[in-house]
């Protein structure tokens, strides 16, 4: 019997959700952080979407948010010209790092010892979190605002994407530019899993996959609409993408075939990420919500329950909902 996808809507934000990130898998499950223009990033339990807490302190829109691997620390980048580091267990603010312009992106090294930031002042900064008073190392080169910056190649290199239509690779120790990828249009997103060998880049309607070591193009796929974000499944069999037509698309990675598309959001999709176990993907939208989508529709996982035909109508102590009513924004 064919099953129809039931997305789980996480409400709470009052303005567009512009970034989201998952932690790794911890003894307490995995976690999800969302960056929102309402200035109040939220932490949620990754497999259910249950709200855990809100990081209070920023005085402007939060453009970027990230968690370290074990979800003990969070970092956020905001329009109030600061990046903040938070204790992700207590919700307390640990550090405020002042910048000279809007901060757009933050990323921890694998051991959480350093934080990379980037933003509208076109500089990449590396903060040593054990010595936060010290001035950060700065890397200049981009000629426009930096949108996304990631630690790369076991934290030995840095990858940054900017409005200057380039993605640049930098060597961390020499702080020199190693390679530049140039595009015809601004890159909308960049994803790289720390143990992966594939870099996912989106621009226009294109979702492109690059070999992470050589930065050679492996393949690219055209979507039906401009894409803002894409994510590759940990097992590299699917990828998902979302953009300006409000829909989520699921593609087969090997043959590039569009498998499914889902309506649900009431605004453009700004970010989409697979969970670390690949069982679900989360999307953040202009409509102020996050939605969780099943990779294998109909499987029992998190809040989704597989109900076999013979179970329907049987004495069951659990209350089941089918198709929660869509509440129009």
């Amino acid at each position: 019997m064919a099953m129809r996808q039931t997305p789980l809507t996480c409400s709470g934000h009052t303005r567009p959700v512009v970034d989201l990130a998952f932690s790794g898998i911890t003894p307490y499950g995995y976690f999800l952080i969302s960056a929102c223009k309402d200035g109040k990033p939220m932490l949620r339990q990754g497999d259910t979407g249950d709200w855990i807490g809100t990081f209070l302190g920023h005085k402007g829109a939060v453009w970027g948010a990230t968690l370290n691997t074990d979800a003990t620390k969070a970092a956020t980048a905001a329009a109030d010209f600061t990046a903040k580091v938070w204790d992700a267990v207590s919700g307390d603010e640990i550090l405020t790092l002042a910048h000279k312009h809007i901060v757009k992106t933050v990323n921890f090294t694998q051991d959480s010892s350093c934080l990379l930031t980037g933003g509208n002042d076109k500089l990449l900064r590396i903060y040593d979190l054990s010595n936060p008073e010290a001035a950060p190392q700065e890397i200049a080169g981009h000629t426009s605002a930096i949108k996304k910056a990631l630690w790369y190649n076991n934290d030995k290199q840095i990858l940054s994407a900017a409005e200057d239509k380039t993605i640049r690779l930098w060597d961390r120790s020499s702080m020199q530019e190693v390679k530049t990828l140039t595009f015809d249009t601004s890159v909308s997103s960049m994803e790289y899993m720390t143990d992966g060998d594939i870099l996912v880049i989106t621009y226009g309607k294109t979702i492109a996959f690059y070999n992470a070591l050589s930065l050679d193009l492996i393949k690219s796929v055209e979507a039906p609409a401009p894409i803002n974000s894409a994510s590759l499944h940990p097992e590299k069999d699917f990828f998902v993408a979302g953009g300006d037509d409000f829909k989520l698309y699921k593609f087969d990675y090997s043959n590039k075939e569009e498998l499914e598309s889902y309506k649900g959001h009431f605004g453009p999709v700004h970010c989409v990420r697979f969970s670390p176990d690949g069982e679900l993907y989360a999307s953040g939208s202009e409509d102020g919500t996050l939605r969780l989508w099943q990779t294998a529709v109909g499987k029992t996982y998190g809040l989704w329950k597989c109900v076999l035909p013979e179970d329907l109508g049987a004495e069951n102590s659990e209350q089941l909902y089918t198709s929660p009513p869509e509440i129009k924004a």
Partner: protein, 132 residues
């Protein structure tokens, strides 16, 4: 547009939303209890001196109780707040929220006029004074 007659996947419940009264991070959650470093210096040490621990805990209880009694006795009194950016204002204190994130005050005297009702953000407050 395909007409999809398939059965929608059932869900146990909807994801829990934010608590309107708190910023969350429940201190009773297993993760919090396991991972939050205790703020009592003595108990953080591997060999906690029971007597030292008790002394510190007693001191903490006294300080906390004093603070809470202070907030209680401030109710309806005129309080002067010293805040960041060299701000000094006076208002009649109403109440604090449970996380001590905001103070509810009335007749807040500011350089640009008197605000009948206001919330003061606690993280911006450096100190406050009032007559007992």
């Amino acid at each position: 547009e395909r007409l999809n007659m398939a059965t929608p996947v059932s869900v146990l419940r909807l994801p829990k939303g934010p608590d309107p009264n708190s910023r969350g991070f429940d201190p009773r959650s297993p993760r919090f209890i396991a991972l939050c470093r205790t703020s009592i210096p003595a108990s953080a040490a591997s060999e906690a001196d029971a007597e030292q621990l008790q002394k510190e805990q007693h001191a903490r209880s006294v300080l906390r109780e004093t603070f809470l009694r202070c907030l209680l006795s401030m109710t309806n009194k005129k309080v002067q707040f010293r805040m960041h950016e060299n701000v000094k204002v006076e208002a009649t204190f109403g109440a604090s929220d449970i996380d001590v994130l905001n103070f509810q005050v009335s007749d807040l005297h500011t350089p640009i006029g008197v605000q009948k009702e206001a919330l003061i953000r606690c993280q911006d407050v450096i100190s406050f004074t009032f007559d007992v």
